[in-house]
């Protein structure tokens, strides 16, 4: 019984990071009704950037401050990385006059971005799985008699913190306001003086930053490896669908539920089928309840 509780707690911690990945999918879906298929690769790349940030900062700083600095550095790097895809892929495709194939083009273009990230990871770092240093604390913490590695507590706190910060950013800053206006109605937003292209960049940059930080958060409990991009992508997508696309709290709850189910399945059935659980769940949800647990029914106008 204790073991089951431990699986649940670990599942909640990992699931909150899945929620962050799902946030990326949901955010782009709300703004453009399309998906960014490089989201998983961002998470993978985030792990590598985090690794470099750790080795760069570990000389002069340690503890919580270092963790904080690593997050900041990773976020900054990802906001910069987003410039390339913005000018090469997102902007040319979305400003095209012909709208018919926009979705397919964006899907394939972002897939291309994902490939490039994967290849860069091999070239810059290596194709070997790498171990992430334990900067988020080692040892166990005792929660009501259940021993839990302390790193999971930090992962959970960090993801909750990030969600709170994003929520504040979206609700109370000018840019966040512009992003919400962009998602609701692009033409009206443009009439009200929102710079659409800047806002588009801001939206993508935000999802890039969140993806990168999610990568750093996942790195301590999994290896940092170049081939994991699609698995993270599928898990984030499943969580986003699970929570019903178009609601950010839904994405987060979907992520936590997926994490718990996966952790229980991996612990109680077989660790080899860990990834199968997310995939089967995805197929079952898509077939039986495509609107998710918190989603609204989508009415398509002809």
């Amino acid at each position: 019984m204790k073991l089951v509780f431990q699986y649940i707690l670990i599942g909640i911690a990992i699931g909150s990071v899945y929620g962050l990945i799902a946030f990326g999918f949901t955010m782009i879906y709300q703004a453009l009704q399309h998906f960014n298929f490089a989201q998983g690769h961002l998470v993978m790349f985030g792990g590598f950037i985090g690794l470099t940030a750790v080795s760069a900062t570990s000389g002069f700083i340690s503890g919580v401050l270092q963790v904080f600095l690593v997050f900041l550095l990773t976020g900054a790097v990802f906001a910069l990385i987003c410039v390339g895809p913005h000018f090469l892929v997102h902007r040319p495709i979305l400003t095209r006059s012909e709208k018919k194939d926009e979705g397919m083009a964006l899907l394939l273009g972002t897939l291309g971005v994902g490939f490039i990230l994967e290849d860069l990871a091999i070239i810059i770092w290596s194709s070997e799985p790498q171990f992430f240093p334990r900067i988020m604390g080692k040892g166990l913490i005792d929660i009501a008699g259940i021993g839990l590695p302390v790193v999971y507590v930090w992962i959970f706190i960090a993801s909750i913190g990030l969600v709170v910060v994003i929520n504040y950013f979206m609700k109370f800053t000018k840019l966040g306001f512009a992003m919400r206006a962009f998602s609701q109605d692009k033409d009206t937003a443009a009439l009200m003086g929102v710079n659409l292209m800047q806002t588009l960049y801001a939206i993508f940059a935000l999802t890039y930053v969140v993806g990168g930080i999610a990568g750093v958060l996942l790195a301590p409990s999994f290896y940092v490896f170049f081939g994991t991009g699609f698995i993270w992508g599928i898990k984030g997508f499943t969580a986003a669908i699970f929570g019903g696309l178009g609601s950010i709290p839904g994405a987060f709850i979907g992520g936590i539920m997926l994490g718990v189910l996966e952790s229980m399945g991996a612990g109680l059935i077989s660790a080899a089928y860990r990834d199968v659980i997310a995939l089967v769940l995805l197929i079952v949800i898509l077939i039986f309840k495509p609107t998710g647990i918190m989603g609204k029914k989508i009415i398509q106008k002809v």
Binding site: E98, L108, L120, I241, V276, L282, I283, I287, P290, V302
Partner: protein, 329 residues
């Protein structure tokens, strides 16, 4: 080009292709055989992506099922190639039927993700269901096919077998894409709602496209297994599924010929780019981004159109010259 001329030209090309192995070495033939197997897969995918307008990212899963059925039948039960290939095709088509029926409600991105899920589940099952599939050891010593007692065991001999199947599959794809079925699928791909409103039963055509695509993947899988003689679950990764999708997109979603050009071109390009090692994938991703951003109709389509206009111009000049000669004499 007129239909009649097209048929003559294609016949001449196929007859010329029969003599191709006489002029090349084994390595070159090997690359071409591989391209031929990929071509069978991409033509199947062309029906789903190009005609029906759906995104299919699980082709490697179907390919793997075809390979494993054929290989395990041959290794465990000694079933000959000529029997195991149709069995593989039928079983794979049956899986296509299941996927087609269960994804009735979903389309677009959701179908894309369901197929990703299916492909990955197949790969993970092949890796972990060790008693049947031999897991990560792979299936080795798959027998070569035989043809009236003669074993087809070199790339040059296999080339002819592969050419036969490629031509058959190409003919089936051509007939399908120009039949009533193909036209309905095109209508569906262009505008789903408009097609539905003129009485095209979307669901039936979508499922048909997926079933035909799966059967072709089964044929390709069987051909691949008996050619390489050793199969491993890692060959059938998601990366391969995406590779096939890229081939169709970079080729063309309207013309079968465009797919041929992209498949041959990219297979050779990736083969010769082995020297630049890791940067290979960046070149390949570059092609993808270039195509979707600047040439949405496909690079292969552009090449085909250019070749067509070249042909027309040649014919025109030839006619003018003939006419002038007549006037002179």
């Amino acid at each position: 080009m007129k239909y009649g001329i097209k048929v003559y030209l294609l016949t001449i090309i196929i007859v010329l292709l029969l003599f191709f192995p006489l002029f090349t070495d084994n390595y070159m033939t090997h690359v071409v055989v591989q391209a031929g197997i990929y071509l069978i897969l991409t033509w199947g995918l062309f029906l789903v992506v190009g005609m029906a307008g759906e995104i299919h990212l699980g082709l490697a899963g179907f390919w793997a099922i075809g390979s494993y059925i054929s290989a395990l039948l041959a290794v465990n039960l000694g079933v000959p190639f000529w029997l195991s290939l149709p069995i593989a095709a039928v079983v794979t088509a049956f899986f296509g039927l299941i996927i087609g029926f269960t994804t009735l409600k979903v389309s677009g991105y959701y179908l894309a993700m369901v197929t990703v899920g299916f492909g990955e589940i197949v790969r993970l099952m092949l890796l972990n269901w060790t008693e049947v599939t031999r897991g990560s050891m792979g299936v080795r010593d798959i027998p070569y096919p035989t043809f009236f007692g003669a074993s087809i065991d070199t790339p040059k001999k296999y080339y002819l077998l592969c050419l036969f199947f490629t031509v058959v599959v190409g003919w089936v794809t051509y007939r399908l894409s120009n039949s009533r079925l193909g036209l309905s699928m095109r209508a569906m791909g262009n505008n789903n709602l408009a097609a539905e409103s003129v009485g095209i039963f979307n669901f039936r055509y979508k499922v048909t496209a997926i079933i035909v695509c799966s059967a072709m993947a089964g044929v390709a899988g069987s051909l691949y297994a008996h050619y390489i003689t050793y199969i491993h679950p890692d060959v059938y990764s998601l990366g391969k599924s995406i590779f096939f999708l890229v081939l169709v997109i970079v080729g063309s979603r309207q013309k079968m010929g465009g797919v041929v050009i992209s498949t041959l071109g990219l297979t050779f390009l990736l083969e010769y780019l082995r020297i630049i090692g890791e940067f290979r994938m960046i070149v390949y991703a570059g092609f993808l981004i270039l195509t979707v951003v600047f040439v949405p109709e496909g690079l292969g389509y552009v090449v085909i159109r250019w070749m067509g206009s070249l042909w027309n111009k040649t014919v025109q000049y030839a006619l003018i010259i003939v006419h002038q000669r007549k006037e002179e004499s």
